[in-house]
């Protein structure tokens, strides 16, 4: 044990006790980082995100009263009128500025409580009760509105220029395998959007944070609930690369799960703020092949708050043992891993830290400080993500070939996101074995990329056929 006597001899400073040197450390980001972090009105990232359909709330939040929301620093109100149409309007009434969150939802549109101006879902003025008949207000004024629609429990809005409205990207995984059920959820983070988004590509953390990273003596059930279990504890062999001409990126993570078998996990990000996860159940490490189990958009509220909106996908491929809980998915709640949301005591946060604690505590005041980071080789994915995102933001990225293919053919889009188990007999030398695992991961990724060009209904069959070509078919587990 160190005592004050130890310091009388002088303090060693070669690589230690450097607090004083760094007491004036900056908390400011460089401009390259701010370009990605700041999403305020008129900022490049704000404009970039507006070019895509963004989820803005859950269908279950649209009731007989309007829902006040804040998206991309803009105060809005969302509602479903009594005819069933969804409206997303700026929150302040064009007349005298009252908040439409106190408006009354009408048969068509929403009526401001103050003087009764009635707005349709597209912002058109339908009635101005205090004004004389035949007034010209309707011809000159329009409540600012955004196009919106509902799909599987999520409300999407397009907040970009009307002449550039993009198609909503439909993935295979929204409808396949047959019987797939999508459950909408949100997850609110008191921090900048980017550090949450980057968490997906920072895959090494899954073998650490989600692997019994708890104070000794905590409740065993809680500790287990904060860990993935199964093959997740194995430190994976990871590689990263861009996909879709730089509009996204993937990681491949290979983990040896037995002397003969390797589990290859692939997850994909689609810029600016979309990502898909493969299975969230231990069965992923024991099954031949499954695809997307979670779809998410990380939507900025402002620069220090963001919301993950998305779907959990329930089907017998991603969760054959039915450990997922549909009833636990909803407004600011999700059904996997303790530590995803803000609803825990500080004591529990400290004893059983999860993604929420690790992510929201990065940096200062809810914003990660990139220049204070000390990355290692395991961080290539995060830095690649930032670099590709910056290129895309600056318009340096060409068209997305896969999206063009889908638009031309009218088919749903494939992602590489998947869990696959392949036969890979273990090599005695650890480094050689890890190199072999990466080689197999590259082969599986090549199969997934090839399958993008196959019609969606043929895709799974094609992938399974190719996997059998690689390893001759998956044998039974030895244990």
């Amino acid at each position: 044990m160190v005592s004050e006597l130890d310091f009388r001899k002088g303090i060693r400073t070669d690589g230690a006790y450097r607090g004083y040197d760094q007491r004036l450390g900056t908390t400011e980001n460089r401009s390259e980082a701010l370009e990605l972090l700041l999403t305020g009105p008129g900022s490049p990232m704000n404009e970039y995100m507006r070019r895509y359909w963004q989820p803005v709330c859950l269908s279950e939040q649209l009731t007989d009263v309007p829902k006040a929301i804040r998206i991309l620093h803009e105060d809005l109100v969302a509602f479903r009128d009594r005819s069933g149409d969804v409206g997303v309007l700026q929150r302040r009434c064009s007349h005298r500025g009252s908040s439409l969150e106190f408006g009354i939802v009408a048969e068509h549109g929403i009526r401001c409580c103050y003087h009764g101006w009635l707005y349709d879902v597209d912002g058109t003025i339908l009635e101005t009760p205090c004004e004389a008949a035949g007034n010209r207000l309707q011809q000159t004024i329009c409540q600012p509105a955004y196009p919106a629609f509902e799909r599987d429990g999520l409300v999407f809005a397009y907040m970009g220029p009307p002449e550039a409205v993009p198609p909503f990207d439909l993935l295979d995984d929204y409808v396949l395998p047959e019987g797939t059920r999508l459950r909408a959820f949100s997850n609110e983070f008191a921090c900048n959007w980017l550090q949450v988004y980057e968490n997906l590509i920072d895959h090494y953390h899954t073998a650490i944070l989600h692997n019994n990273m708890t104070v000794e003596g905590v409740d065993a059930a809680l500790a287990a609930g904060a860990s993935f279990g199964g093959g997740w504890g194995e430190l994976p062999v990871i590689n990263w690369q861009p996909v879709h001409n730089g509009h996204g990126m993937i990681f491949t993570a290979g983990r040896r799960v037995s002397d003969t078998k390797v589990w290859i996990r692939i997850s994909e990000m689609g810029f600016p703020n979309f990502c898909t996860n493969a299975a969230l159940a231990p069965s992923a490490a024991r099954q031949r092949h499954s695809n997307v189990a979670m779809t998410r958009w990380q939507v900025p509220v402002d620069d220090t708050n963001s919301i993950a909106f998305g779907w959990r996908h329930f089907n017998d491929e991603v969760d054959p043992d039915h450990i997922g809980r549909e009833e636990d998915c909803g407004v600011d709640k999700i059904d996997f891993l303790i530590g995803q949301t803000r609803h825990r005591s500080y004591d529990e946060q400290q004893r059983i830290p999860g993604d929420y604690e690790a992510i929201t505590s990065q940096g200062a005041g809810g914003v990660a400080i990139h220049r204070l980071e000390h990355p290692g080789r395991s961080d290539v994915g995060v830095y690649m993500c930032r670099s590709l995102l910056r290129d895309a933001l600056r318009g340096k990225t060409g068209p997305d070939p896969t999206r063009i293919l889908s638009e031309a053919g009218g088919d749903t889009l494939a992602r590489c996101t998947s869990d696959t188990v392949v036969e890979v007999p273990k090599l005695a030398d650890r480094d050689a074995d890890r190199a072999l695992i990466q080689e197999r991961a590259d082969q599986v990724l090549a199969v997934m990329k090839e399958a993008e060009h196959v019609p969606s209904l043929e895709r799974r069959k094609h992938v399974l056929y190719r996997l059998d070509e690689i390893d001759g078919g998956l044998g039974p587990f030895e244990d």
């Binding site: 390259e32 062999v237 990871i238 590689n239 990263w240 690369q241 861009p242 996909v243 000390h374 990355p375 290692g376 080789r377 395991s378 961080d379 290539v380 830095y383 690649m384 930032r386 670099s387 590709l388 480094d431 890890r434 190199a435 990466q438």
Partner: protein
């Protein structure tokens, strides 16, 4: 991480050499070696940290030749005169470093 990832989807690793401007030393860089590794083998100590093109600890000025930047940290302006020698390659036969 067992293989060096790259921002481009496929990269052909090509032989090139680095010339050190101050000593005139010409060192070939084989496809399976980084510039930093070659320098260290020649007894030239270079400060590095991440060795993956993320931290810019090894950021070095170049004077001639065409580097193939493999980093994720230098901006366009910096790339006109600097390379991260932990991971950069070159498309010219020789890359002259200000070392």
């Amino acid at each position: 991480m067992d293989s060096a990832p790259s921002k481009t989807e496929t990269v052909a690793a090509v032989d090139f050499s680095v010339r050190l401007a101050r000593s005139g030393l010409l060192l070939p860089v084989p496809p399976d070696r980084s510039i930093v590794e070659v320098l260290r083998e020649a007894g030239i100590d270079v400060a590095t940290s991440c060795e993956a093109g993320l931290c810019a600890t090894c950021k070095t000025r170049y004077l001639d030749g065409t580097p193939e930047h493999q980093d994720f940290i230098l901006n366009d302006e910096e790339r006109k005169s600097f390379v991260t020698i932990c991971c950069a390659r070159a498309t010219s036969d020789v890359l002259v470093l200000d070392l």
